[in-house]
């Protein structure tokens, strides 16, 4: 369960995120949808405690990211934008290293890494150095690394960027499985189809504020259109232009 209230971040004179409130519950996939530069990544970065908010607060399973960031991090698996690996370590070692940092014992790390490697279909490259990995192999490794401690909450920033069709399908399947297991999944995207295909709930964010949080069906009803894309454009447009044309 991820909750935020009044979350605000300023970079100099620019207010990147302005009083964002959101809620992502367990057993559902919540999509953070918005145009480029809307503040999606900044919001996620505050949630996964890499940036400190200038105002407001957020909670992961009720634990404040502001007051107990280390404890909050234990409950999150994070796939940040552009997943960088250690080039001299193999995929398996990259995954196990994060297990070490999460404080897992050697036996547990080993077992979990092996399990994730199988689940994400990584067997062919698991023991090769990450140096020459394709984007798909990199994202899979980074995802396995983020899940090594079996976090209740999973945050992903634009996870499908640069992935081929096969890798996207694997990712979707995995997110679906995690949902079925009762995890809370929050991911950002600027791709409408992505969100439409995966999400139980959509949060539309533009110019640093949340415009609406609703299910895809509610969104279509609200915008008075059958197309989610049209609904997105209308809702973002309403806020962006300061009123209907």
């Amino acid at each position: 369960m991820i909750e935020a209230r009044g979350l605000t971040k300023r970079f100099g004179a620019l207010t990147a995120v302005d009083s964002v409130a959101l809620r992502a519950v367990d057993g559902r996939i919540t999509g953070l949808l918005g145009p480029n530069g809307a503040g999606k990544s900044t919001t996620l970065r505050m949630l996964y405690t890499v940036l400190a908010p200038d105002g407001g607060e957020a909670w992961i399973d009720g634990i404040s990211v502001v007051h107990a960031p280390l404890e909050a991090r234990r409950r999150m698996g994070v796939l940040p934008h552009g997943a960088g690996l250690y080039p001299n370590l193999t995929a398996r070692e990259n995954i196990e290293y994060f297990g070490t940092l999460q404080g897992l014992s050697r036996a547990v790390r080993r077992a979990r890494a092996a399990e994730l490697i199988e689940r994400l279909e990584m067997a062919t490259f698991a023991d090769r150095p990450a140096k020459g990995f394709s984007q798909g192999q990199r994202v899979k490794t980074a995802l396995a690394r983020a899940l090594i401690h079996q976090p209740r909450n999973v945050l992903l920033d634009e996870p499908t960027n640069g992935l081929d069709v096969m890798a996207v399908r694997t990712l979707r399947r995995l997110l679906g499985e995690l949902r079925a297991e009762g995890h809370c999944i929050l991911f950002s995207s600027h791709v409408m189809q992505e969100v439409a295909a995966l999400c139980d709930e959509v949060i539309i964010i533009a110019a640093g504020t949340v415009i609406v949080q609703a299910t895809p069906d509610e969104l279509r009803a609200r915008a008075g259109t059958q197309s989610l894309e049209e609904a997105f454009v209308r809702l973002v447009g309403l806020e962006g232009e300061g009123g209907p044309a």
């Binding site: 996964y48 405690t49 940040p80 552009g82 960088g84 690996l85 001299n88 290293y97 999460q102 983020a146």
Partner: protein, 391 residues
Amino acid sequence: MKAIWRVFRKEFGETLRERRSLITTLVVGPLLMPALIGVVLSLAIRHSGTPSSRPMALAVAHAERAPQLMAFLAQYGVRIEAVHADRRQSRRRVERSHGPLLYVPRDFGARLASGKPAALRLYADESNRAVQGRVRRLSTLIGLYGGTIARLRLVARGLDPQLLTPIALHPIDVSTPQSRAALALGMLSYAILFTMLMSGLYIAIDATAGERERGSLEPLLTMPVRREHLVYGKMLAACAMMVISLVLTVAAFAFAMRHIGLDRLGMSVNFGPAVAAGIVLGCLPLIPAGAALMTLVASFTRSYREAQTYVGLVLLIPTLPLIFASIMGLQPRAALMAVPSLSQHFIIMSLLRAQPLPALDIAISATVSLALGAVLMFLAGRLYRRENLLG
């Protein structure tokens, strides 16, 4: 605290697989530097004998026409090689890249006896530096011989020979083989310190600029580990690489120095295991400061390349005190032992010269260096907590 150890283990293990850093640590340090310094030192040794004391070969055509001159030259270390050649042959002989050749004309003895200038011909290819030196030495010797004859002539005519020397210039060469070698030995301590720092460079840059550039910094920061502990672990790994490099480099120097004959410079060749161990121990306290300084500088840069440039420049900082020391002829004293890198230089030199420093001086060096390392590491930890670390 456990997290520091975990980060350390991973960074150290990963660096051992990185070719670039391994080459720096295992090849450049322990092999290249001792080889380089060894060559410089052995050149210094070869050119260290004063020129006038070394024997010099000289081909002479018609040496029999000037027996007294030949005896005089022989006295001053010139080895006469009599050759049979007329003037034309003499010239050709020298042109075919032989050394200088002295030709004694037929009337040499007669003109000398009659008090007229007696000519000698010296054929030499002066575009050759080595020949230049021999020609200069020969001119000096022959000038000396001529001066002696001139004085005898004056005395024979009842005049004071001092009339001929209105001015007496006494060039006094105070250089000793040791002082000539001091520069090369100064390079030795510089080489030890430089290779030691170099081997920590990769991890130091990787801690910030490297992690950021390859996009692994952000995931790392989502781990339940305090940020400063991450950077402490990385700096410790850099220190470990530096220790390995230091030990290997000093061992290689100890080996090299034994085989180039420092004793011919009148220097202590006392570069045995004990001295090598002393050098390693003397340099160890500088390692944390070096690792932290490089990490600090790298954390301000935007890319790996930029970091390499700046950290490369920073590596020159420890060399500045060494340069000042050799230009100003600084000697170890308590105040100077509080200057990190300079104090390590003094420790290395004192061990090589077998002139032990007071224990207090060594204690000052270690304490100040370690304290600086602690402060810089703390600062690096603080900087790792900055938000714009992510770039």
